[in-house]
Amino acid sequence: MSSIAGPSLPADPSSETAARTGKPIATAVELEPGALTDVELMLRIQAEDADALSQLYDRYNGIVKALILRIIHDETSADDLLQEVFMEIWNQAKNFSADKGNPLGWMVTLTRRRAIDALRKRQAYARAEERFQAEPEQQPLAWVQNVTEEDIHASDTRVLMAKVINSLPVAQQRVIELAFFQGMSQREIASHTNIPLGTVKTRLELGLKKIYDGLKELKDEL
């Protein structure tokens, strides 16, 4: 890693560049009959209904924490950041617009940005990198490593997503891991992995295209 500074992250999720349209790729959680939808919860949070935030937290804290943990590799900091992220959801709720996308997408974009910012600000990059490098090379993707054969046949959304990602060559998975979860630029990835910059770019493009195409198919099936 040549520098702590990474690439410019996509804009704040409340801004136009993070605006998303269309139906979500998948429903993350199965809702009980009569349960409020994510959008309904967000509308209530906008009206400063604390119970709605409590419900949203119960629904998504596991996903949000997993994302944070995947980025900062520190359990204690992840809990602190989880709290900060949901506080930011409370504070920034008025910037959410259902016309521009779904709540989970908004939360994930916000969380990733916040976690990568925290990683840089706290200058924990080096420590995270050490932990990251300590992970077995043959299992570069902790994000899918727990998928079992039994899981593969399950219809759980998480497993389907993992299946799409897991279908990529390991080399492509690795550069995507570094770009998305570590917030590295192409140059940083090239430096970190000793892979030529052009190869990094090609692997990223091919890998992301395959995931994107796989998700489109999944979206059509759901």
Binding site: P24, A50, L53, G62, L215
Partner: protein, 84 residues
């Protein structure tokens, strides 16, 4: 930049992996392709959800939610909003 090249760049853009020198060309193509470009970029943000949803959910300390809700109530009290 062809639209296919733009699509490749858009997928890099949404995860923040475009290099600064690539951003200029990307933004030019974005303007050139207009609404089609914006639609495609919006769809690409689905990648964020996909990566998050592929993770195995992690357990958070129960104390975190208590602290969060206490902060929210305190914020409500400060702003004069009625507690729910």
């Amino acid at each position: 930049m062809s639209f296919e090249e733009f699509q490749n760049s858009a997928r890099l853009y949404v995860i923040g992996a475009l290099e600064p020198e690539e951003l200029q060309d990307f933004e030019a193509a974005r303007r050139q392709y207009g609404a089609a470009a914006e639609d495609f970029i919006n769809q690409c943000y689905g990648l964020h959800e996909a990566f998050a949803l592929s993770l195995k959910p992690a357990k958070a300390s129960a104390a975190i939610k208590d602290k969060l809700m206490a902060m929210v109530r305190e914020r409500q009290n400060q702003s004069g909003a009625p507690p729910q």
